[in-house]
């Protein structure tokens, strides 16, 4: 499930949309080489599920890795079945003739480990016990995800990505790639990201986790065996998160103080449209996401710190990078505000790296990166066209 793309007009059927990649079929690779993790533990084996869009060229130089955000997955574009109600989470940007053009590029979109949509995560069976990992699934980080993505690239025969691209937590992975494997990407597109979470960011994550952890149905994370699910906690966590994805302006425009039934009822049931919307989003999300995965993804955000091994000096960290960078932020994004992207840009300039940066003026908040906003799309497209031109040189 994407963070939010309710503003995106979806075609009635994929056949109607010339810009759709159409029906896509996910693929899974099993890895049985143990994966050492940042936390000190080792994942003995794991599956990675991914989708691809567009053809890989003969010299395998046109591959692009798309990294997902907190609640995303491998299903970034197209549909799994003709009657799917929604397309993949970044369908606004990926497709023939779109910003990330499948006529030019071979796009690989992966579900990170720890997730709950096909790659190994807390709800997968622990090979040692034959039962779901649950809370015993090791805490993974962006750094670990990059290692799994490297291994997938090896399997696919992709020595160097034309670009690694992502928004929010996805952008953080792109930044991590540029530092950890500088020779394996030519471009990093980092959108609506931050170099490290702020105390306020962590605070919101903590409340989200607390909502899940304190749900009586959570059972210390072992809810699978008990046929229960901390639905209320996950709904609360998502409602809270959702507020941070939207701007004050966007919420005011969308809901204002509008009432569902036109008059005050003087009780505590859902009355305002915004309450109704948040509840709906929370419920929808809880039906498609695993609570243990949500805990883990928020922790991965908290722990993201690419400068940690460089005395917290980001410019020293990015000094290793060899790729060109494109960063974009959104004026009304208060989750990862433009100033946070500017920190990355300053570090890159200080390190003498090639970087372009745009602050997009739009009202939609953090989730803007998922939307087709002209100023954003124009800049993004110009940058992607440049990458495509390099392929033919």
């Amino acid at each position: 499930m994407p963070n939010l793309d309710t503003n995106t007009a979806l075609p009635a059927t994929p056949q109607d949309s010339p810009g759709s990649v159409g029906i896509v079929v996910p693929q899974t690779v099993h890895f049985d080489t143990p994966l050492p993790l940042l936390c000190g533990k080792t994942l003995p084996e794991y599956d990675l599920i991914y989708e691809t869009y567009g053809e890989l060229n003969p010299n395998k130089s046109n591959a692009i890795l798309v990294c997902h955000a907190l609640s995303g997955n491998h299903h970034a574009a197209g549909r799994h079945a003709a009657d799917d109600k929604r397309a993949g989470w970044w369908d606004a940007c990926i497709g023939p003739g779109k910003v990330i053009d499948t006529n030019q590029f071979h796009i690989v979109s992966i579900n990170n480990i720890g997730g709950c949509h096909g790659s190994t995560g807390p709800k997968s069976n622990n090979p040692d016990t034959g039962k779901p990992y649950g809370p015993d699934f090791p805490i993974v980080t962006a750094k670990d995800w990059v290692e799994t993505q490297v291994r997938l690239a090896d399997v696919l025969g992709i020595d160097q990505w034309a670009a690694v691209i992502g928004g929010s937590l996805g952008g953080m992975q792109a930044l991590q790639w540029s530092i950890d494997h500088p020779e394996r990407l030519r471009h990093a597109v980092v959108i609506a990201a931050a170099p490290v979470l702020s105390a306020q960011n962590i605070a919101f994550n903590e409340i989200a986790r607390k909502a899940i952890l304190s749900d009586p149905e959570f059972h210390g994370g072992h809810y699978y065996e008990k046929q229960s699910f901390p639905k209320t906690g996950l709904i609360l966590a998502r409602m809270l998160g959702h507020i941070t994805y939207l701007s004050d302006e966007a919420m005011r425009d969308k809901f204002g103080r509008e009432l569902r039934e036109g008059k005050l009822k003087f009780d505590y049931n859902v009355e305002f449209q915004v309450e109704s919307y948040l509840n709906y989003q929370g419920v929808q999300f809880s039906e498609n996401f695993d609570a243990n995965s949500y805990l883990l993804m928020t922790r991965a955000l908290d722990y993201f710190d690419p400068a940690a091994d460089y005395n917290s000096d980001l410019s020293a960290a990015v000094a290793r990078a060899q790729c060109r960078f494109m960063l974009m932020s959104f004026t009304t994004d208060w989750r990862f505000a433009p100033a946070r992207s500017q920190e990355i840009v300053d570090a890159l300039i200080q390190a003498g790296k090639n970087v372009s940066y745009a602050e997009i003026d739009c009202p939609q908040g953090h989730d803007s990166f998922l939307l087709d906003i002209p100023q954003y799309t124009d800049l993004f497209r110009a940058y992607m066209d440049g990458i495509a031109q390099e392929l033919s040189q």
């Binding site: 494109m326 970087v355 940066y357 745009a358 110009a382 940058y383 440049g386």
Partner: protein, 200 residues
């Protein structure tokens, strides 16, 4: 503001492989040219989205930052050359931005239109109204050019700040350094190109 043949002059004052910051870089033409001819490592500051797209199309590093608000994120002495073409007259505090340019860079190159050009003088003298020309096409109430100055004004400022003028070239409307512009620059020169430093 399309007097871009000044770029050839600017190019001749920049050393190969310099780190160059271009304030108000427009569509990135200068930086693209400098990259090609001198292999400079450049960044441009620009806030117009259409111009930024043009920069990206040229493969120029462009940063969407308003040079008129704050340049504090650029470290002291982090560039060899800071360039600002045809924008000095449009910033809020020209004196402060010159200070900032010479903090960030060792040297800077500034170009600006000369308000004491004979056509401006003639316009004001005969019509008694604020000059409007091909070079300065705006009327007083909608112009972005809020700090127009003359060559003499600029040099007086340099003198007050004890800055060293390394080079100065003046060009007329045909972007040539004509005899008139050479002999009486403040009367016949339309655009000035100054190369300055705070070191002696």
């Amino acid at each position: 503001m399309t007097l871009r043949n000044d770029f050839t002059t600017i190019e001749s004052w920049i050393k190969p492989q310099s780190r160059v910051l271009d304030l108000g870089c427009g569509d990135g033409t200068l930086l693209a040219q400098l990259k090609q001819s001198l292999d400079v490592h450049g960044y441009g500051l620009e806030i117009n989205p259409t111009q930024m797209v043009e920069c990206i199309k040229k493969g120029v590093n462009v940063i969407g930052q308003n040079m008129d608000e704050n340049l504090a994120n650029f470290k002291t002495d982090s560039f060899d050359m800071v360039v600002m073409t045809q924008a000095l007259q449009a910033v809020h505090y020209p004196d402060q931005i010159i200070d900032e340019m010479l903090r960030i860079g060792k040297e800077c190159i500034i170009t600006f239109p000369n308000f004491a050009h004979w056509r401006c003088r003639f316009y004001l003298l005969t019509k008694g109204r604020m000059p409007v020309s091909k070079n300065l096409p705006y009327t007083w109430y909608n112009t972005p050019n809020i700090h127009l100055c003359t060559f003499k004004d600029f040099e007086a400022l340099c003198h007050r700040k004890s800055l060293t003028i390394l080079h100065r070239t003046v060009v007329d409307s045909h972007e040539n350094d004509s005899i008139g512009a050479k002999l009486m620059p403040n009367l016949f020169g339309e655009t000035a190109i100054y190369h300055i430093t705070r070191h002696h």
